[in-house]
């Protein structure tokens, strides 16, 4: 660490209500380096950078930039100090042209825009210099995602920047585009700029960084030069937990195939290929894990199986019967349960009571409905039963679910899905954002389900969770299943490497 760092963020705290998103982060960046921020989703990387850019105000902490304290909490201050950020969700106005986006917010509001030709010329010049191929008069909404990203990067360069922050820039890029981006970053550093590169992809980070800071649980847990580390260490730092949970469990006794997926391919909501020729099977009495760095197709896999995302090709079967192309309602009716990735987006209805949330998919089926009417006594009894069995902390079943903690909300989702007596349970990010006690409880419940003969597919970015309950683990990378590893903690590094897209010699090859 140098005596006078280029940038020092000191003990930054930030919380939204009771949710802590930055727990005393300290980060130092030196001039002229590519500094990677590595960490899982929710580790606090984007929040930290938003604070640096003035979009979010921290509760406490200070930032020293170029030797002087930075007046934080104002985007214009950051712009003035030539700090530029390329956001994960592009800050480009879709109905404006590239050049218009660049002059947005520049100068006096009362200024007339008459010198657009000059702007165009400068954009072309910069675009040529870095080989970005950006056309200044193109309208954003007509551009592909990769093109939009180049527009975003050039926007920051256009405004003049000494410190460039790239937030998950490769998440939406093809491998070829990623290569070009990494080359560009090196070129920028050569021009004397400093780059902060946010990613959770080990391979990219190893390829391009000078130094790496690993974030976990809203803190920087380690900073190292790239030469002093290796992907295994980084993987461990990223996913590592202080407490390794050892849940007692019997060896699996897999039975018939319940879910079978063959040749599944589909696109994400941006129209980009998300899944490529996925094949997998889940048998009665086993838990199959799907590991992978987020953004490698796990979300789409879950949605496609649940019938919530149209598929391009492939076949899905449940209990030997074809379910390809069926509606979510039809799939739900085939002993299929789904614990969704984002409970706020899909799993629960915040303004409603626990009881009303407990019947989400079965609102029109007996015993909860009879002759079209909700059977309130039965629903209440059922919900009380779930509350008791899952030890959900709530005054009663009439409480609004919004008033519960995240862990208790998730318990209700799990309880609801398990109560449907499914043959197959699709689980995404089972323990995201909930406390340790609830995690352990939920994991144990999943094991009980396995032992009761159910087939479970657990998609997770939490390796610890996967190792704790899975029988075997599939690793996804770039929309494909790269390999399968037995769920044995000694194989953790192997999984880490697969997550980074590296195949080791002794890993069983799969399509």
């Amino acid at each position: 660490m140098s005596e006078r760092p280029f940038l020092r963020m000191d003990n930054i705290h930030k919380s939204f209500g009771e949710i802590i998103v930055s727990a005393g982060v300290t980060l130092e960046v030196e001039e002229g380096e590519i500094h990677s921020l590595l960490g899982e989703n929710g580790a606090g990387k984007s929040v930290l950078m938003s604070i640096l850019c003035g979009i979010l105000s921290p509760n406490s902490g200070q930032i020293i930039y170029k030797g002087r304290p930075l007046n934080i909490g104002s985007p214009r201050e950051a712009i003035r100090h030539r700090i530029g950020m390329v956001h994960q969700h592009f800050m480009l106005v879709p109905n404006l042209t590239v050049a218009e986006n660049y002059v947005l917010g520049q100068g006096s509001p009362l200024r007339l825009i008459h010198d657009m030709e000059k702007v165009h010329a400068r954009i072309r010049e910069l675009s040529d210099r870095y080989g970005l191929g950006v056309r200044p008069d193109a309208v954003i909404e007509d551009l592909s995602v990769g093109e939009q990203q180049r527009v975003e990067i050039l926007k920051v360069l256009y405004h003049g920047t000494d410190l460039l922050i790239l937030d998950e820039p490769t998440a939406v890029l093809t491998p070829q585009e990623t290569d070009r981006l990494l080359d560009l970053m090196r070129g920028l550093v050569k021009d004397g700029k400093t780059v902060i590169f946010i990613s959770h992809k080990l391979d990219e980070v190893m390829r391009v960084s000078d130094r790496i800071s690993v974030m976990r649980d809203c803190r920087v847990v380690h900073t190292t030069r790239v030469a002093d580390t290796d992907p295994r260490e980084l993987a461990r730092l990223m996913v590592g937990r202080d407490v390794l949970m050892e849940l007692p469990r019997a060896p699996a006794d897999p039975g018939d195939v319940v879910l079978s997926v063959e040749g599944l391919s589909c696109r994400n909501d941006l129209g980009l290929p998300a899944l490529r020729d996925i094949g997998l099977q889940v048998r009665r009495g086993e838990i199959v894990g799907v590991a992978g760095v987020s953004g490698n197709g796990q979300t789409e896999l879950a949605l496609a199986i649940a019938g919530l995302l149209p598929i391009d090709s492939g076949r899905l079967a449940l209990n030997g019967r074809d379910i390809t192309g069926l509606s979510p309602a039809e799939i739900n009716a085939r002993a299929f349960a789904h614990i969704p990735e984002d409970r706020h987006k899909m799993g629960i209805l915040m303004p409603l009571s626990l009881a009303e949330n407990a019947i989400l998919e079965r609102y029109d089926q007996p015993p909860f409905a009879a002759r079209g009417m909700l059977q309130r006594r039965r629903i209440a009894a059922h919900t009380r039963d779930l509350i008791a069995r899952f030890r959900i902390k709530t005054p009663d079943e009439e409480e609004r679910i919004a008033n519960l903690s995240g862990g208790n909300q998730q318990k209700l989702v799990v309880a609801r899905e398990l109560a449907r007596d499914p043959d197959f349970i699709l689980v995404s990010q089972l323990t995201r954002g909930i406390d340790i006690g609830a995690i352990e409880f939920i994991l144990q419940e999943m094991l009980k389900q396995r032992d009761a003969g159910r087939a479970i597919l657990l998609i997770s970015t939490e390796l610890e969770e996967l190792f704790a309950i899975c029988d075997r683990i599939l690793v996804m990378f770039h929309g494909q299943i790269l390999g399968e590893v037995p769920a044995d903690r000694s194989r953790l590094e192997e999984v880490g490497l697969l997550m980074a897209g590296q195949k080791a010699g002794h890993v069983a090859q799969e399509a």
Binding site: G54, V93, V103, G105, P109, L110
Partner: protein, 310 residues
């Protein structure tokens, strides 16, 4: 035979259409600006009424038309400020607040008019037609089209200014961005709320002007409910015009034309089309336009959505 095929008829029709379109042009261009910033103001009707009443009252008191127009604009903006406070600062539902604004506009203008002006029975002077050299001397069209008052002519100016504001100024660029991607504006260091306040105030100011035209540029008196639904038609104009000020100008003219045509065709004894058919046409056409152009495709992406900084 039918008088309607003559050039003179056409010229008169266009002249009438322009006058009938004038309040619509002001209000709809104002609403274009407001909606481009993502704020849907269905309270235009009440706002126009305020403009009509306050314009009348100010002119009544001072005898000055310019002061009356200024008062109309100011009254519109005052209502705009209420609307903006509730929708932008309090982040309340824009439809609900707009409905309340309509009630307030109608109630207040009628209440005050009855309390203070009913028994006066006196009108105000209205803006006189102004001849434009050369144009007004054109045969047929000069006589009918270019013998309007300055307020009517100023619709062209307002349209041009709106185009410059929206498409040629830094303010307009940011304003359009606010309706489409407010976060990008926030990140660029500009206040989304300030721009939305600005857009709403411009929009309601123009609506106030549109209302004031009715009492200061066309009739010389305030009548309860004088706007007669024009605030709602302006909303339709905006959709039909696909959120473009130039489009709003011409769609308003088109709607004005329907109205003028309806009045003129009734006066043709040999034509027997129910005049209601023409009255319903603008509304039907707006629905068809929505189907053809698609509801969402042209609308600002964040129309009607309060901006949450998080």
């Amino acid at each position: 035979m039918l008088d309607i095929l003559t050039l003179g008829f056409l010229a008169t029709l266009l002249g009438a259409a322009w006058r009938l379109a004038t309040p619509l042009i002001f209000a709809s261009i104002g609403e274009v600006i407001s909606e481009r910033a993502g704020v849907l103001n269905i309270g235009l009707e009440g706002t126009m009424l305020m403009g009509a009443f306050c314009g009348f009252a100010a002119s009544f008191a001072t005898g000055s038309i310019p002061l009356g127009l200024a008062a109309g604009i100011a009254a519109g903006m005052a209502f705009g400020l209420i609307f903006a406070f509730f929708t932008i600062t309090v982040k309340a539902n824009q439809i609900v607040v707009g409905a309340a604004i309509n009630l307030l506009g109608l109630g207040l203008t009628a209440f005050l008019f009855r309390t203070y002006y009913v028994s006066t029975g006196r009108g105000v002077d209205i803006a006189r037609p102004v001849r434009i050299p050369w144009l007004s001397d054109l045969p047929f069209f000069g006589e009918a089209l270019f013998r309007q008052n300055l307020i009517v002519y100023s619709t062209v100016l307002v349209t041009v200014l709106a185009v410059i504001l929206l498409y040629r100024s830094s303010f307009g660029l940011t304003l359009r961005a606010v309706g489409d991607h407010p976060k990008a504006v926030d990140v660029a260091g500009r206040s989304v709320a300030a721009y939305r306040y600005g857009a709403v105030l411009i929009g309601t100011g123009l609506a106030g002007l549109g209302g004031a035209f009715l009492t200061l540029g066309h009739s010389n008196q305030f009548v309860e409910g004088i706007t007669s639904g024009r605030g709602f038609i302006a909303l339709a104009v905006v959709v039909f015009a696909r959120w473009s000020p130039v489009g709003a100008f011409f769609v308003s003219l088109l709607f004005g034309l329907f109205y003028a045509l309806q009045l003129q065709l009734q006066a043709q004894p040999m034509l027997n089309i129910p005049y209601q058919a023409f009255q319903a046409l603008p509304y039907l056409m707006t629905i068809v336009a929505l189907i053809v152009v698609g509801g969402k495709s042209a609308a600002p992406r964040k129309l009607g959505t309060p901006y949450d900084e998080r």
